[in-house]
């Protein structure tokens, strides 16, 4: 069934239809939240909150838009709210949780992977939230600038500026920590995902 059909059914109160949409997008929404807040437990909560909000407001969704970008927008807003409250209450950001979660004693390649992961997450952490959002929407979710502008507001051109700026800032952060050595190293072995727990 297409998104449009599933949304129509959901709007008519069909919960299983909505849960099919959840199944379809839960990984993307969770991944987005992970990138935004760098905390797997919070990301799980935020992803659930995003789906819950989408469900509650499903009738306000107009079919001329894409459900996926609408959902991403809700998820990003949940993350913004979370980041705002975390800033207010001063929780420290723990990037180790994402980087090293479940990592087992590992051979050298995995250590390298962990190191690269840590550097990248730290660099991402230091980006403004909006630039972090643009990076993940563009690189990981494959959205066009037009779609990104629908998620984040603003124009497609603004999304393009944010994306380019974010790449440059990341480059600077990574290189600074790097002393021109590790992080930018070509990394075929690094792509392996580290299972958690």
């Amino acid at each position: 069934m297409t998104d449009a059909q599933l949304v129509s059914r959901s709007q008519a109160g069909d919960l299983p239809a909505f849960e099919e949409l959840v199944q379809k997008y839960q990984r993307e929404v969770y991944g987005l939240a992970c990138r935004m807040v760098s905390d797997v437990e919070e990301a799980k909560d935020l992803a659930q909150q995003a789906f819950l909000q989408a469900f509650v407001h499903i009738r306000s969704f107009r079919q001329d838009a894409q459900f996926r970008t609408w959902l991403f927008r809700i998820a990003i807003n949940q993350c913004y709210n979370f980041l705002k409250s975390r800033r207010k209450f001063g929780d420290p950001i723990d990037c180790d949780e994402l980087n090293l979660a479940g990592a087992e004693p590992s051979p050298e390649a995995d250590l390298l992977a962990q190191d690269q992961r840590r550097r990248l997450y730290e660099a991402l952490e230091r980006l403004p939230a909006k630039q972090r959002a643009v990076i993940t929407l563009k690189v990981e979710q494959g959205l066009s600038y037009q779609e990104i502008s629908q998620v984040l507001g603003g124009t497609a051109g603004a999304a393009r500026v944010n994306y380019c700026q974010a790449l440059k800032t990341l480059k600077k952060h990574i290189q600074t920590e790097d002393d021109h050595e590790v992080a930018m190293r070509s990394s075929k072995t690094v792509a392996a995902r580290v299972p958690r727990r």
Binding site: G13, L15, E19, V22, Q26, Y30, G31, C34, V40, K44, A47, Q48, F51, L52, Q53, F55, V56, H57, R59, S60, F61, R62, A65, W70, R73, I74, N77, Q78, Y80, N81, L98, G102, Q116, L120, K130, E140, Y145, S149, Q150, G153, G154, T155, A156, G157, A158, V161, C164, L167, K168, L170, K171, A183, S186, S187, V190, A191, R193, P195, R196, R197
Partner: protein, 242 residues
């Protein structure tokens, strides 16, 4: 930094075949291969992208998604029982407003928007910049028409609320700096034939922010010159860039 580099650098990640209009691709395609600075910058940006792609969010443990679905299912059932699903009418007040006020109010609203974006007192960021090489009058008219339509597009895109803007739990996102609409011609001696280029969404402030003082100086002088010799036709104050 050559001023073409300054204009093109934001599109570099899209080289050679990314999310750009055809003319943008062809401009990039004619510039990048011959410009070592842009090639260097591009290589570094690609390394960053590769690093992100090589470092995906860790896949959660196998039981994670089962748990996720069960938890969420309970929340959804509860929301459904509490009848939280929003009635359609509450969602679209922005779109209903014109209907409530009727056509006259809509006309006033449109007039307001038009004045806002084209009037003499419009904030500098919202004005359009047009500069082009000395050209016969028809081309100039064309540029103006183009500018107007670009300004209209911009006005529409800024005023149209995004789909989920009304979601109660979704606060307004941080404001984006307004972007300039720029129509320029390619520089003398550029590899492409001289043509007008609609650089809608070109953010001058962002460009200038990325330059050193000296580059900024050269760049602004160049635009000043074009303004003086009549090749930049739109009145545009440069003082806001200082």
């Amino acid at each position: 930094m050559k001023w073409q580099c300054a204009l093109l650098k934001r599109w570099l990640p899209e080289y050679p075949d990314g999310d750009l209009p055809a003319w943008g691709k062809s401009w990039l395609g004619s510039h990048v291969p011959g410009c070592s600075a842009c090639r260097q910058e591009l290589a570094e940006l690609r390394q960053v992208i590769a690093a992100i792609e090589a470092t995906p969010v860790a896949e959660p443990a196998p039981e994670f998604w089962g748990e996720f679905s069960r938890d969420l299912h309970l929340k959804l059932v509860q929301a459904a029982q509490e009848g939280q699903a929003a009635p359609e009418a509450t969602s679209s007040r922005w779109f209903r407003l014109p209907y409530l006020l009727g056509a006259p109010a809509m006309a006033v609203l449109l007039l307001y928007v038009a004045v806002q974006f084209t009037g003499p007192g419009a904030p500098i960021q919202e004005q359009a910049v047009v500069m082009h090489l000395p050209a016969p009058p028809p081309a100039q008219d064309q540029a103006l028409v183009k500018r107007e339509s670009a300004a209209k597009r911009a006005a529409v895109s800024r005023k149209a609320p995004a789909p989920a803007a009304e979601v109660a739990a979704a606060p307004a996102l941080p404001m984006e700096p307004m972007e300039q609409i720029v129509t320029v011609a390619l520089e003398d001696g550029a590899p492409l034939p001289v043509e007008e280029v609609d650089l809608s969404s070109w953010d001058l402030d962002a460009e200038l922010a990325g330059m050193t003082d000296q580059e900024k100086h050269v760049f602004l002088n160049k635009m000043h010159q074009r303004k003086k010799d009549g090749s930049c036709v739109e009145g545009f104050s440069f003082c806001s860039w200082g």
